[in-house]
């Protein structure tokens, strides 16, 4: 048809979506082919990522239209003199019990303050890293009071079993293995409740906003439907997630339970994304994150409130409620 011809020649009908392989509405949209159904004329490719850093790079390389992204990589992306040309358009989930700080039982540590002088591992530049720093601060510890070690989840597991580290801030499924021989000190849920939530956002490129806003609307509608399905059809959601992750239904159910999923209404509310013209609390969260990162010398300077506000795309956001 002429449509597919346009897609192949102009490439305007192409949608490249980056996703993370952990339980979220994305997996349901992908598994149920909600987006493919909503946008039959688009050529949709799903690309799996496992770090916010590479998502940022892919956006820099103009290789992505829409992608999932943690709130701290996003804060980094929008700060600096030349922010990455993308905007946040959706919230996938909020970190809950699926990211947590655990200490080895044998250390006898039972609270965050007890970690002074201990070796703590976490994947640097991740949301866990951010939450860990926030937890330490809340407990009155400076980062220099502990030994922070940059480890990816699987090495964390290995180092943990050897006894090389005393505690780790990490996510599922490694987290579950650590819990078996450890004490949970805090979780992202608690830290979020204390005002420093970490979130998985969805961002869209400026280019797509200019080129094909209708596709964004359709995508958001699909994501909203997925969030509703998570609540209304838990069994179906578990099956979809299990199939996407290649894990057992029981594992998928357990993982889903530990995440915090908003309803579409919550996403649009002033508590989170807000509406066009009046961004919600997410604006503060992102600004706080950026400020925190700047304090940790992870970024040069705090982006202005304005700069963060400009990285919000809420046009037509409330339409998903219809």
């Amino acid at each position: 048809s002429s449509d597919s011809e346009a897609a192949s020649s102009g490439g305007s009908k192409r949608l490249r979506i980056g996703y993370f392989a952990f339980p979220s509405g994305d997996l349901i949209v992908k598994n149920r082919k909600l987006l493919e159904k909503a946008l039959p004329d688009h050529k949709i490719s799903w690309i799996k990522f496992d770090s916010g850093a590479s998502v940022n790079q892919a956006f820099l390389g103009k290789s992505l239209d829409i992608a999932a992204l943690g709130s701290s990589p996003f804060a980094r992306g929008v700060s600096g003199s030349s922010p990455i040309p993308y905007k946040v358009a959706w919230i996938l989930d909020v970190a809950g019990e699926n990211e947590a700080l655990v200490a080895r039982k044998s250390t006898g540590v039972t609270d965050v303050a007890g970690l002074r002088g201990r070796k703590i591992a976490t994947p640097f530049a991740s949301t866990s890293h951010y939450s860990l720093l926030a937890a330490l601060e809340a407990a009155g510890l400076k980062p220099s009071d502990v030994q922070l070690i940059d480890l990816q989840p699987q090495p964390i597991l290995a180092a943990w079993q050897r006894g090389d580290i005393d505690a780790a801030y990490v996510w599922l499924p490694t987290l579950d293995e650590l819990r078996a021989t450890g004490t949970q000190l805090t979780s992202s849920k608690e830290i979020g409740a204390a005002g420093k939530p970490t979130l998985d956002l969805a961002v869209v490129s400026d280019d797509l906003i200019a080129r094909d806003p209708a596709a964004i609307d359709a995508w958001r509608t699909a994501e909203a439907e997925a969030l509703r399905l998570l609540k209304s059809d838990p069994d179906g959601s578990v099956k979809a997630v299990a199939a996407e992750l290649g894990i057992s239904a029981a594992d998928a159910a357990a993982q889903l339970k530990q995440g915090v999923f908003l309803t579409p209404e919550q996403v649009v509310s002033a508590d989170w994304l807000g509406t066009e013209g009046s961004p919600g609390k997410l604006l503060t969260y992102v600004s706080d994150t950026a400020a925190f990162l700047a304090e940790q010398k992870q970024i040069d300077a705090v982006p202005s409130q304005d700069a963060v506000r400009r990285a919000f795309y809420s046009k037509g956001l409330s339409d998903v409620l219809r």
Partner: protein, 258 residues
């Protein structure tokens, strides 16, 4: 006989040791799964199972095939470039002065350091992967060819010149065959290096692909699949190296005879 029996014997010994280690439960199963589990994983990722096809919708053979294609293109480009650069640098002094420092610089660069640049410049599809593999395969060939060309027996170059060979004739008929054995060693090393860069090359958007599979499985602590991937990479590497060794024997019968 011995050529086959010895490695097989050592393989058997290795499997037994592995089984003993796994059975001792010194390490959790996530870290050291028993051989049987790895075998199960192998069967799983090779077949359609519970409606799931292989790993991530792609069977092991397909993952491997896609990666091999990337290696073939990437390492192929790297090897060809390496031979060409090596020949020119070995024969023309000023080209060597000009390029050698850059090549040395290039080959000290960690792929993980410049991979983000590749993504930014070349996107997330095939190009950055193939480029990374080419960049990885290039140096061994370029370095060994350059050194070999610079060490071509002067006596044979003179013999060719005395027979009336032009400069180009000399390169084709003396320099190339004389450098061939070392170039082939370089090629063998290059293929190995390309293989070992596979996971790095497939870090981003690497599925389907065996390196991407290994990395993805590692993210989920799915060690059996990681090991299946590693073994698949290693075994296919063995086969290719075996072919290259055979090629060497056929193409360079004169080695050691001079």
């Amino acid at each position: 006989m011995r050529h086959v029996a010895l490695p097989l014997g050592s393989l058997l010994l290795f499997l037994v040791l592995w089984q003993v280690l796994a059975a001792s439960h010194t390490w959790s199963e996530t870290l050291v799964p028993p051989p049987a589990k790895v075998w199960d994983a192998f069967v799983d990722v090779s077949t359609t199972h519970d409606g799931v096809r292989g790993y991530n919708g792609t069977t092991l053979v397909e993952h491997l095939g896609i990666s091999l294609r990337r290696i073939a293109i990437g390492a192929g480009l790297g090897i060809v470039a390496g031979v060409v650069f090596g020949l020119f640098m070995g024969t023309v002094g000023w080209l060597r002065s000009l390029f050698e420092p850059w090549i040395t610089f290039l080959r000290t660069l960690p792929p993980l350091a410049y991979f983000s640049l590749l993504i930014i410049w070349l996107g997330i599809d095939e190009e950055p992967k193939v480029t990374l593999l080419a960049v990885a395969a290039f140096p061994p060939v370029a370095v060994s060819t350059t050194t070999a060309v610079a060490a071509v027996p002067k006596s044979l170059v003179e013999a060719a010149r005395a027979l009336g060979a032009s400069r180009w004739d000399t390169v084709r008929d003396v320099v190339v065959p004389s450098a061939l054995p070392e170039t082939l060693t370089g090629v063998r090393l290059a293929v190995g290096v390309a293989y070992s860069s596979l996971v790095a090359a497939e870090l981003v958007n690497g599925l389907p692909g065996i390196g991407g599979m290994v990395k993805d499985a590692a993210n989920y602590n799915n060690t059996p699949v990681v090991l299946v991937g590693i073994i698949a990479i290693g075994v296919s590497g063995l086969v290719i190296d075996g072919l290259l060794l055979r090629l060497e024997r056929v193409v360079v019968p004169w080695r050691g005879r001079t």
